[in-house]
Symmetry: C2
Subunit: 203 residues, 2 copies
DNA sequence: CCTTTTCTGTAGTGATCAATACACAAATAG
DNA sequence: CTATTTGTGTATTGATCACTACAGAAAAGG
């Protein structure tokens, strides 16, 4: 097939992983081509041959983030037995991922709401949709719990989901300011203290 | 006194206000000198004569933000009769300020945790301290309420304060994504649903 | 071998960045 | 008036930005 020509001298997936860490750490615009090529260990022509452009590389970095880190955060939402355990697991997994050693603090997708300046409209819209998807997924989990009789049928799933996603997004800011995993977990437990009040009566 | 020389042809306070809006909207690095001078209606030499440097202008813009917007958010903390009303008022005022028409969405100081890349260490530390100050102020309000017998004496004031500040910071992200004032207020009410659980037993 | 294809390294492109040199304008001091 | 001081407008500084032209290197096809 396409094995003609000089073979690539670097591992594409490995280089993308390094680029993801730079974008995650600095945001789109503040990550310079020099930052990227140095972290990836390649020259800029190799970067452009493999990824097309800075924004193309960013898009792939976001996809990689979603596939690796983001799925770990969302995992509990579909796996936990009860809706309460699902959301608590979501917040606890966030606390873990946001403070994992060797990784930038906070969530790359959440932070992109603030530091993805200069990115194209299409990529920007995709990132916004990814953040909105968190609310959708949690609301769906709440509605399925309500349909199963586990929770009150009259609850406002969207409002509750927005609240928990807001807490999780605030945890990204806290992580940026140096909050540790136990501190973020304490915040998550604080957020869960609202659970009974929110799910008992329709807000 | 110092009325010698050609008088300044623009209003310094007015120009600073315009610069604050640009920094608030775009962050430090993404706000270019062209953006700033166009918004302020002056040439770059006038900017440098009046404010010293881009970072000097940014520092003054942060001070102006603190004096105008930030005080409105923190007002309820010292004015409200009860600790609960103080914190609820803090979140409600945040919802209002974060979505005020004609102003950028979200809190300039909160967002600076993410978009103040490239700013000097001293300014960066000052901004971080301003964010930490929110936790300190709320914790102090909780402790005074506990000392007055209004709340349980064994509550973890720091943990509760961190939780509510995290919600407020998440509201800044939500505002960036287009959340309206009623939506943010609903989130604030959701956060207040945790109040009894948090203040009843020592976490 | 030679040709074709693909990638790498060097060395740059024009554009934009924050910041200024310099000449002139506009005020006060004497 | 002249001298001094301060601000403005033009035009530009070197540095850095994202990006690429070009020549040579390293592979497969014939």
């Amino acid at each position: 097939m396409s094995e003609r020509g000089r073979p690539r001298a670097f591992d594409r997936a490995e280089a993308l992983q390094k680029a993801m860490l730079v974008f995650w750490d600095k945001g789109y615009q503040a990550a310079s081509l020099t930052d990227l090529t140095e972290a990836m260990g390649i020259g800029s022509p190799s970067l452009y041959a493999a990824f097309g452009s800075k924004e193309g590389l960013y898009r792939e970095a976001v996809d990689l983030y979603e596939a690796s880190e983001s799925d770990e955060i969302a995992g509990p939402l579909s796996l936990a037995a009860t809706a309460r355990e699902a959301i608590e697991g979501y917040l606890m997994a966030s606390a873990a991922v946001f403070t994992r050693p060797g990784r930038p603090p906070g969530c790359m997708v959440v932070l992109s709401a603030v530091n993805a300046v200069g990115v194209g409209d299409e990529t920007s819209a995709k990132l916004r949709e990814m953040r909105a998807q968190s609310v959708t997924a949690i609301a769906a989990r709440l509605r399925s719990a309500a349909a199963a009789g586990e929770l009150d049928a009259g609850l406002d799933a969207e409002a509750i989901a927005s609240y928990y996603v807001t807490v999780q997004q605030g945890m990204s800011i806290q992580a940026r300011d140096g909050a540790t995993r136990p501190q973020l977990e304490a915040i998550a437990r604080g957020a869960m203290a609202a659970w009974e009040g929110l799910t008992r009566a329709a807000a």
